[in-house]
């Protein structure tokens, strides 16, 4: 089929212009400057002084740096794996079952409540989590007492063994609303006739889920997984608000480490090295995702 005027690829470049200009100024240039700073000793006011690979050498032998990346893996579990799976399940239940059997209003209301943690500023949420996690009279320990499990009481945020798991639970709570909303919007794209045909064929809810739902909303699943992964690698605010990376270094993450170097020690050069390393990791991971997504899309087209 000969491409008509609307389908020639070159004419679309005009639409990319604003985006490209903005991204160069706000992202590419600062990225370059940040990389430059990582090779300097810079306190933020007097001009940076070139020191070559010194920051980088220090970084590779810095135990705190490696610990922070280990903790990132925990963040990925808490912000990507669990929310995506759980979110898919909840969105499907709400849209498919609740929406159809109990009415759209009920489904909408429940969706809104799941999204609320995303609306609460993390500084505020941290105060509440603090109340719940208090060792002496916090809500969680009080509930454990009431149901007779007082042996399970812990110092949730103050014990190095429990701080990270506690933060992970908090992150799941914060993140869950995002996949639920995205997936529910995506599910609206599924042609209801497909479901009806499948139901007539005798497929139960689980079969329909796997064969139809997951297949149609694959783009959104990829997007949610990738953006949550990037967010998990970059995570800063919850750690800052809840534990400041402690107790010890049990909850420190790369972003918090670079923040403390930038703004507390004002060692901008070293902080820049940490954040550049983090950026490299994020870019690498994202590339893997995008290539996988591209490959899956190409398979789809060939069908």
């Amino acid at each position: 089929m000969t491409p008509t005027k609307t389908q020639q690829p070159t004419g679309y470049w005009w639409y990319l212009l604003p985006g490209l200009l903005l991204v160069s100024a706000i992202v590419i240039v600062p990225l370059g400057m940040n990389i430059y700073y990582s090779f300097t000793s810079y306190r933020g006011i007097l001009p940076p002084q070139w020191i070559g690979l010194e920051n980088w050498q220090r970084l590779f032998t810095d135990a705190k740096f490696w610990t922070s990346f280990r903790n990132s893996i925990a963040m990925i579990v808490a912000m990507v794996v669990v929310p995506t799976l759980l979110g898919l399940l909840i969105a499907s239940v709400l849209f498919d079952l609740v929406g159809k059997r109990f009415g759209g209003k009920v489904a909408s209301f429940l969706r809104a409540t799941y999204y609320i943690p995303q609306i609460i500023p993390i500084v505020v949420a941290a105060i509440v989590i603090g109340w719940i996690a208090r060792p002496d009279d916090g809500a969680l320990n009080s509930i454990l007492d009431t149901i007779g499990l007082d042996g399970a009481r812990q110092n949730w945020l103050g014990d190095p063994a429990w701080a990270l798991p506690t933060i992970m639970v908090v992150l799941i709570w914060v993140q869950i609303g995002y996949p639920v909303v995205v997936f529910m919007a995506a599910l609206a794209r599924v042609d209801p006739e497909l479901y009806e045909a499948a139901e007539l064929d005798g497929a139960n809810w689980w079969h329909r889920f796997r064969a139809i739902t997951v297949a149609v909303i694959r783009p959104e699943i990829f997007v949610v997984a990738l953006t949550c992964t990037i967010a998990a690698l970059k995570v800063f605010a919850p750690v800052y608000a809840l534990t400041r990376g402690g107790p010890g270094t049990s909850t420190i993450v790369p972003s918090y480490y670079s923040y403390s170097e930038f703004f507390q020690s004002t060692q901008v050069g070293y902080g820049a090295a940490i954040s550049t390393a983090l950026t490299v990791v994020i870019i690498a991971v994202s590339l893997v995702f995008l290539i996988a997504q591209r490959r899956v899309e190409q398979e789809e087209e060939q069908r």
Binding site: V23, V223, L226, S275, L290
Partner: protein, 278 residues
């Protein structure tokens, strides 16, 4: 045509699980509400979990006055709304070119746009600070708006491009046959069909921008330009913290976004009917 209205037992089980999950998720919000109307005495004596003995509005009133809350509210609304709209526009244009136009070099370009999302915010602060001083945009809301437009549109570009890659070719061809150029096709075909996704983006961008702290703190120096989260944070003194007033301010801070979300939610439920395709 709705599915049979027969509700099996399993349906009720699933519903109760969903409701239970929702309750657990929303419990902390209830705690905030509880403590916002509590006097400091009640908090000291009863702790955060008890009901207040009487409704106490002083904390709310004092915060409203002291922070000039209406101004902060307006600032937040202005900045978040501008970012939402501009961010969606930029994402739309980018995704139109990449997803539908299939411009050459799609993958590298996508990565370039996504970089805005991949960079940790702390890394951007010093370079952008130096740049904004040079162009006179330091202590201006526009610097915040521009920065967040770029950051949010990274996500928007990615999501929309993914969705537009699977855009029904028949619709585009039909428009081409009708003699529509790229611009008209965009506004008359693509946007209406993907309105669902665009709305989701608007909501996300608004809320995400509203709750931001680090970049607004850096670039909004004068008090009268600052946003609601900054006003809430200002309450936290270095050593003392007034928990009930902080709670009250938090409540005030999240009501606008909650309302916004609830309003837009109805748009989401109207859904895209199969009729758009015909």
């Amino acid at each position: 045509m709705r599915s049979s209205r027969k509700r099996k037992a399993l349906d009720w089980v699933l519903l109760s699980l969903a409701v239970l999950g929702a309750l657990v998720v929303v419990a902390p919000l209830l705690l905030i509400v509880l403590n916002s109307f509590k006097s400091p005495d009640d908090y000291n004596q009863g702790g955060p979990l008890q009901l207040p003995s009487h409704l106490y509005f002083d904390g709310l009133a004092r915060f409203w006055e002291a922070s000039d809350f209406p101004k902060k509210l307006w600032n937040s609304i202005f900045i978040s709304a501008m970012v939402a709209v501009l961010g969606v526009l930029v994402s739309l244009f980018n995704a139109y070119a990449l997803g539908i136009g299939r411009a050459r070099g799609r993958l590298p370009l996508l990565v370039v746009f996504l970089l805005a999302n991949m960079l940790p915010q702390e890394a951007l602060l010093y370079p952008l600070y130096n740049m904004s001083k040079a162009v006179g945009l330091y202590d201006s809301q526009w610097s915040v708006i521009i920065i967040f437009t770029v950051i949010q549109s990274a996500f928007g570009t990615y999501l929309l491009t993914s969705v537009y890659s699977g855009f029904p070719r028949e619709l585009l061809e039909a428009a081409a046959i009708d003699g529509a150029g790229r611009w008209r096709t965009l506004w008359q075909v693509v946007v209406p069909v993907s309105w669902q996704t665009l709305s989701v983006l608007l909501i996300f961008f608004f809320i995400w921008t509203w709750n931001e702290f680090l970049i607004p703190t850096t670039f909004l120096v004068s008090n009268d330009k600052q946003t609601v989260p900054l006003a809430v944070a200002a309450l936290q003194g270095e050593k003392l913290m007034d928990v009930t007033t902080t709670s009250a301010s938090a409540l005030l801070g999240l009501i606008p976004t909650l309302v916004f979300f609830l309003i837009f939610q109805r748009t989401l439920t109207r859904g895209v009917t199969a009729g758009a395709i015909k």
